[in-house]
Symmetry: C2
Subunit: 154 residues, 2 copies
């Protein structure tokens, strides 16, 4: 569990620090890798996915993720290899991303906030291998709007 | 591959026909099951997920899904069990859902359209077992807006 969460957190560290090498090391290298950015259509394949992150990281001066409601699960019933560790080799992590971003850090006015929810699928090839992202889907959270009571209208 | 897509399509059949029994049979029964509806926060656990579908199906008179860009992948590097089939036991399916829904079918005016993208993770316990949903994340697609040129303003 902690290994999964370390890779999951490292992903956000990579975005925050603009560390492309770290970002690359965190994705499975496969034509089947998928990534959905908030409001966007799916990207398929590690090359397309990494290109999108390079672009995103190049266009953001400052970004910080505060993660809440992080839930991690390893696959029930995954067939273990003969040397299986019993910990599983596929994991799904869901979380809420509370995002603070801005252009420049001179004044508080230049910051804006946002909220997204994300489902990530991480895999590893074996017990001694690192967990890597195979799929990631993030989407905006639409805040519930209070219905205005109109009883008091004239 | 075809088995995965059959379960994936059956899910939409269940929603379209309001078939709760079919819907229940298509989800892994586990506390780690996750589902994100468009714009919503994650639901965790099969009970919570199925409750949300019961509610959704009870509140829709008519709904039909036209799926496009369906891409399915089985896990590269999943450890196979001693009797592994070589086909893998975890799959990720992404697709675009073109949704037609309405209240009553009397007039064309009562219909509305929508578009979402979805990433689904399906699993099966063994080669002879059916594929079931373990995770599902759907989100609205924000259409690109053309920037209006203001050169012609007075």
């Amino acid at each position: 569990m902690s290994d999964v969460l370390a890779s999951h957190r490292a992903f956000y560290d990579a975005v925050e620090t603009g560390d492309l090498e770290l970002m690359e090391s965190l994705w499975a290298d496969a034509p089947s890798t998928t990534c959905v950015h908030p409001g966007a259509e799916p990207l398929i394949g590690t090359d397309a996915v990494l290109r999108s992150w390079v672009l995103l990281m190049a266009n953001v001066d400052y970004i910080q993720f505060f993660l809440t409601d992080v839930a991690v699960s390893v696959l029930p019933g995954t067939p273990r290899g003969p040397e299986g560790t019993g910990e599983g080799d596929v994991a799904v992590v869901t979380c809420t991303e509370n995002i603070l971003s801005g252009e420049g850090t001179e004044s508080a006015d230049s910051f804006s906030g946002g909220k997204a929810v994300c489902t990530s699928v991480l895999v590893r090839a074996g017990a001694d291998e690192p967990w890597r992202f195979w799929s990631r889907h993030a989407s905006p959270v639409l805040e519930a709007v209070d219905v205005v009571e109109e009883d008091e209208a004239p």
